[in-house]
């Protein structure tokens, strides 16, 4: 299992795939926003948590199409399905590795982008914590989408359409927690705890659904 994580990390480090592209895409999305809404710093700092979250969401969806594609092409996907480890555990590791290579870099890049969007230090901290708690859920749900689309020749768009409605709760509670942290009457802890609960819940359900899916598509 550790070998699988290390392998995924190596693949992600290679140029043109994974981690770096994700962060670049994140940067591109964030740079586009001020052009669309105007460079008003007050407005931008108000919108910043939402922009960061949407950027993170889109960047995480970006790599999903390739999550199983390479394994399928070189045949190692069949080995994964047939090995003695529970397939669900392998799926969990795959999703976790996806998060380390796409979600985690985004979380680490958030302070820099937060400053660009004129977000207060406290707001940056709140956004980072919620992204840290929430982005794994995107990867876990995304694994299901990737497993569904393994057999599809042109699945990229379709994965996004299928996955986006499902990650809306993550977005709702992530933003809810940030608003709770920044504005006084709204509470921080309840939405944040729900966000953590969603992540834990999907960490079980996502790999389970993905393994059901892959086991079928193998035969």
């Amino acid at each position: 299992m550790t070998a699988l994580i290390i392998r995924e990390m190596h693949l992600a480090m290679r140029a043109g795939s994974g981690a770096l592209t994700g962060v670049l895409f994140f940067l591109a999305v964030i740079t586009v926003f001020p052009f669309a809404v105007g460079p008003d710093t007050r407005l931008l700092s108000h919108l910043a948590p939402a922009i960061l979250w949407i950027g993170a969401l889109l960047a995480s969806l970006l790599g999903l199409e390739r999550l199983f594609a390479q394994e399928r092409e070189d045949g190692s996907l069949d080995l994964m399905v047939m090995q003695s480890h529970p397939l669900m555990l392998t799926m969990f590791v795959k999703a976790f590795a996806h998060w380390i290579t796409t979600g985690l870099p985004l979380v680490l890049a958030t302070p820099l982008f937060g400053i660009m969007l004129n977000l207060s230090p406290f707001g940056i901290a709140a956004t980072m914590i919620t992204l840290l708690a929430g982005t794994p859920a995107i990867s876990f749900i995304g694994t299901v989408g990737a497993a569904v689309a393994v057999k599809l020749p042109r699945g990229g768009m379709l994965i996004s359409i299928l996955i986006l409605p499902l990650v809306i709760p993550v977005l709702v509670f992530g933003i809810g927690a940030i608003v709770g942290a920044l504005e006084d009457p709204a509470p921080f802890l309840p939405p944040f705890l729900i966000l953590c609960a969603i992540t834990l819940f999907t960490s079980v359900l996502g790999p389970l659904a993905a393994s059901v899916m892959l086991r079928h598509s193998a035969d």
Binding site: L152, L158, I161, L162, P165, L166, M213, H216
Partner: protein, 255 residues
Amino acid sequence: MSTETTMETSASNLWGLANPTRFMGFADRAVPILAVLTVFLFAAGLYISMIAPEDYQQGHTVKIMFIHVPAAWLAMMTYSVMSVSAIGSIVWRHPLADVSLRTAAPLGAVFTFLALATGSLWGKPMWGTWWEWDARMTSVLILLIIYLGLIALSKAFDEPSEAAQPLAVMTLTGIVILPIIKFSVDWWNTLHQPASISRFDTPAMPSEFYIPLLIMAAAYIGLFFTLHLMSMRNEILSRRIRSMKMKSARSKGTA
């Protein structure tokens, strides 16, 4: 006899209709009856809705409710039917469950669209806006996106039978939307009013509105099952045609 075939026979004993041929016979008999029943219920429901008194606050527009509310119920019921089919499709891998799932999706999308469109027409005179990002409207819109995504997925595969498992898994994953829609009016107290019909002991609306609403709901349910059976029949027929074509192409290839 292998375990596979014993399971198969016990399943078909449990539900005789699981056999496509027997299902076709059942559908042929049931569709005319259901269609007549639906037409009758719609005639009665629309007439009673028309003569229903005007609301003291909303005037004529209250009658949109008789179209809007059952459509929204059906939007959710269709998804439940699809989820049950999805379980059948995953557990027994039964083609008929897949046919049911696949053909219900467009119907669900239409009902959802109808609920959104009539709600929008109702919202303009009552709330002064066509659309508001209110919790219930937004969650129903998400349901529509899920339906459209599932339809797109069901058409994305070259071989229709390959779509069965992905479709079933995605349907079951999307089921989280149903409780969100149901409780959205209680959790987020935004524009849309809370449920006023589910409290059966003391319905929060007078019977002049209550009875036409129930008749219209029955008519919508009849419409759904009529159309569902018809399109399942079509799907089965088109699959048979497809396999016949394949067979003839293969025999030509070997000859």
